[in-house]
């Protein structure tokens, strides 16, 4: 049940109507049931995995709380990580062992002799479970059983985040939520914006990018367009998912944390990670980087090493491939540079507009370069594409992309730049009486245009990029 499918719209509408018709006490069980229906719509077998992990985490948190002995948390964390390691990393582990074995003459197949299905959203709900155990062990009040089942399964955040932490949603889970017009209006608006970003923007860029990454000998221009296009595609795609998740949750009275804040307007790599996949950045900071840095607090030089380790973990979390690990390390290096050799450059970004713009362009370029690692299927492909760029293979003539694809990506980029530049102006205008009246009057027309565009431009319900993680 993909968020931009008609099936999801029907599911959401039905859940919304039923939820707000039920008495308060029946709403929580209903949301849990609906969440399992949503998750089971992909593969009902994995619903048992989710349920099992939920029951375990709820019980283990209480156990840890009852017997607060140092080190007691680790078995719980390990149990959470086990399904992730099995389902997501077995193939990766095997492939690496096999390649070492083959290097020593063993005749091992490069691939596992059996297929392992990846349960959707496993990376997200594993992190959520670990966060819960750690938070409870460090003083967070544990959830009741039903509250925890809902926290763990609530469908808008189940598959691809935002990674909601217990403290961020506790109040909404435990209070009596009432139907509020503003919540509904805001939720619907966010859902519509999510549909627009996904259906109109991300899905139209995807074929251009895919065609290049599927081709064997792309020229330099193809590679450049594909990397740039993918940078836009993944932003539109993932932020669209987050918009729909946040909007869907709001319809039921839940306030999820934001996941994106104009990341391509970032003026340093550190600023970028404060704006991109914000809930993951915070999770890694609080549960990986900070404990490591704290443990070696008497050796400040180790901080940069932990930064690299934490970012490599971010990469590996995204996928069981060396390309993701190297992508994480690339961002780790950028963050280290941000704290060391380029510290003054990025710090001066606020000194003047020009410096700010320069810092933004540099950050944007470095982040874009990293997307090649994220999208490539292998490090060999990365090397080939870098070679194409370095040698300007084919000059300015593309080997795969058509002019329309290039124009489309440039058009979207120009639109994004304009929106980034004018968002402050719009915010100011929106609170002034006269422009606010005009905006209010035009809003229905704008919504209808967007709805019509989504219907007309939507050909198929395409999967979100982050579903693979």
């Amino acid at each position: 049940m993909i968020f931009t499918s008609y099936t999801y719209v029907l599911f959401l509408a039905a859940a919304f109507l039923i939820h707000w018709m039920l008495p308060h006490r029946a709403r929580k069980p209903f949301l849990i049931a609906a969440s399992y229906v949503f998750y089971g719509s992909w593969d009902w077998r994995f619903a048992f995995l989710l349920l099992g992990l939920s029951v375990f985490n709820w019980a283990y948190a209480r156990y840890v709380l009852a017997r607060p002995v140092p080190g007691r948390l680790w078995p719980g964390i390990l149990v959470n990580l086990t399904p992730l390691l099995i389902f997501k990393y077995t193939g990766f582990f095997y492939a690496n062992v096999a390649s070492v074995g083959r290097a020593f003459g063993a005749e091992w197949s490069a691939e596992l002799p059996f297929a392992i299905l990846l349960p959707l959203g496993i990376s997200f709900f594993t992190f959520q479970g670990i966060a819960y155990l750690i938070d409870v062990a460090t003083g967070e009040e544990p959830f009741g059983f039903a509250d925890f089942l809902l926290y763990k399964a609530l469908w808008p955040q189940l598959i691809a985040g935002p990674i909601v932490r217990p403290g961020e949603i506790r109040a909404d889970i435990q209070r009596i939520r009432t139907l509020d017009y503003d919540d509904c209006a805001y939720g619907m608006q966010r859902i519509l914006f999510g549909f627009v970003k996904k259906v109109i923007l991300a899905d139209s860029i995807a074929p251009v990018v895919d065609s290049v990454f599927a081709s064997h000998t792309p020229n330099a221009l193809d590679v450049g367009v594909a990397i740039f296009g993918f940078g836009l595609q993944i932003y539109f795609d993932f932020s669209a998912y987050s918009d729909i998740a946040i909007g869907s949750a709001r319809l039921f009275g839940f306030r999820f944390p934001e996941n994106f804040n104009w990341p391509y307007a970032a003026r340093s790599p550190q600023d970028f990670w404060n704006r991109w996949h914000m809930t993951l950045s915070r999770w890694i900071r609080d549960y990986v980087f900070t404990p490591l840095a704290f443990a070696s607090r008497h050796k400040p030089k180790w901080t940069n090493v932990w930064l690299l380790v934490a970012m490599a973990a971010v990469g590996l979390w995204h996928g069981a491939q060396w390309t993701f690990v190297v992508w994480g390390i690339w961002h780790g290096l950028l963050l280290v540079a941000n704290q060391t050799v380029l510290k003054r450059f990025f710090e001066r970004a606020s000194a003047s507009r020009m410096r700010g713009l320069l810092a933004m362009i540099v950050t944007f370029s470095l982040v874009m370069a990293g997307w090649l690692l994220f999208r490539a299927e292998s490090l060999a492909q990365v090397a080939d594409y870098l070679r194409a760029l370095a040698t300007m293979r084919g000059g300015i003539r593309p080997s795969t992309v058509r002019v329309n694809g290039i124009l489309l990506i440039l058009l979207y980029f120009a639109g994004l730049v304009v929106m980034q530049m004018t968002r402050g102006t719009f915010a100011v205008l929106a609170v002034r009486p006269a422009p606010a009246r005009v905006l209010r009057a035009l809003r229905p027309l704008g919504y209808v245009l967007l709805i019509v565009a989504v219907i007309v431009l939507d050909q198929e319900a395409k999967q979100f990029v982050y579903f693979q993680f």
Binding site: S211, S215, H216, D222, R397, I455, L457, Q459, E460, A461
Partner: protein, 401 residues
């Protein structure tokens, strides 16, 4: 923690409608405007339907989309791929008759200045060959890619009743810029597991000989696997069909999409000064992939008992064309060599339709689509080019006269 009173909150949904903000907010306007948009689309659809209904009088019923109610024999897929599965049922049973499938791009079915009595190439050929026990059926679609021609061949080969004896493919140079399987074909592929298996088998078997084509076939399948609505039996597809029945906007979304794209292209052309004759250089990777698909087509035909015939499509001698001359010449040279090496019969028909038989497009001579007479001449040229494969020269019939 708040403890709700038993039964409290029931039917809270109605509080939304009692909220003044709901009635003063954009929701009501949005609903009203959407109703108006749907009404407008319905009117537009009716006007088009009326025009289509009027068309048969002038064009002999060609545009009555439903083949069940057509007042002429169904001898080509005039839904141009949109109702592919429906039209497959009209292919003459090849267990009872010799069957020729004619496939290619829009030139195969578009008739400029359509007049009563005009027919497509497939119809002219069928007229000529049917008396001799050979039937011809046209399976063409706009900008048909070479991957799609392989799809059409595999699809027809899959059943004994549609298994062609001869598969003619019209090679158009600019179509080597096209790749991918259109949604309608992908839908058919997805709903036929035996065809998926054959598609996979073909990709695997030819991976070494045609790596680009095989990789493309695999990626096509992978992509379509990910798209929920491609599977006709899925809840998503049924839901879309259900919503289409109540919302003209949803029902007409594909046509509106095409319309929108045409206008977007017009805007692009206006701003960038692009004309339909602007030079379109080859896109190397696509070009190479399509050449491999051509090889795959010939190999598949040979292997499975369907003779593949190729011809270079006619083009308007008096119109500027978008080909880069050196590239087009090199392509023709390659194609000739390819045909010789693979033993695939090839005919060059680029000059068989004189300027007078072409129509107009965007205010200038159409370089790709001709009038009814062009179809007749193309059919005659095909019959003349491949007499041994299609029929002896004496049996070329009406089109050849």
């Amino acid at each position: 923690m708040n403890v709700p009173a038993p039964g409290s909150g029931t039917l809270e949904i109605f509080s939304l409608f009692r909220d003044r903000r709901f009635w003063r907010g954009p929701a009501v306007w949005v609903v009203l405007l959407l109703l108006i948009v749907n009404g407008a689309v319905a009117v537009h659809r009716d006007i088009r339907a009326r025009e289509a209904a009027a068309a048969p009088a002038a064009a002999g019923g060609r545009f009555a989309l439903n083949p069940e109610t057509a007042n002429r024999p169904v001898r080509w897929d005039w839904s141009v791929g949109d109702q592919f599965e429906t039209f497959l049922r009209y292919i003459p049973d090849s267990r009872k008759t010799r069957l020729v499938i004619l496939s290619g791009m829009s030139q195969m079915y578009t008739i400029n200045d359509n007049r009563p009595g005009d027919q497509t190439i497939a119809e002219w050929m069928d007229d000529a060959l049917a008396p001799r026990g050979t039937r011809v059926f046209g399976l063409a679609a706009p900008n048909l890619s070479h991957e799609e021609s392989v799809f059409l061949l595999l699809t027809t080969l899959a059943k004994p009743e549609t298994h062609p004896d001869v598969f003619i493919f019209a090679v158009a140079f600019e179509k080597l810029r096209e790749v991918d399987l259109r949604r309608q074909y992908a839908t058919y592929l997805r709903s036929h597991p035996e065809l998926i298996a054959e598609w996979l088998r073909t990709a695997e078997r030819y991976r070494a000989k045609y790596p680009l084509a095989a990789a493309k076939m695999l990626s096509t399948l992978e992509q379509k696997e990910r798209d929920e609505s491609v599977n006709e039996a899925s809840l998503e597809s049924r839901l879309r069909r259900g919503v289409s029945r109540v919302s003209p906007l949803v029902a007409e979304r594909r046509d509106l999409n095409s319309l929108l794209r045409i206008h977007l292209f017009a805007v692009r052309n206006f701003f960038l000064g692009i004309k339909n004759t602007s030079k379109r250089p080859i896109i190397r990777d696509r070009y190479d992939t399509n050449r491999e698909f051509l090889g795959l087509l010939a190999d598949l035909g040979r292997e499975r008992g369907a003779l593949v015939l190729l011809y270079i499509v006619p083009f308007n001698p008096s119109a500027e064309n978008p080909y880069v001359p050196e590239e087009y010449a090199a392509f023709k040279q390659w194609l000739t060599q390819f045909a010789e090496e693979t033993g695939t019969p090839l005919s060059n028909l680029e000059n068989v339709v004189p300027s007078s038989d072409w129509g107009l497009f965007l205010g200038g001579p159409d370089f790709k689509h001709f009038k009814g007479e062009g179809h007749r001449k193309s059919a005659a040229a095909l019959l003349k080019s491949f007499p041994a494969q299609l029929a002896p020269p004496a049996q070329t019939g009406a089109a050849g006269q």
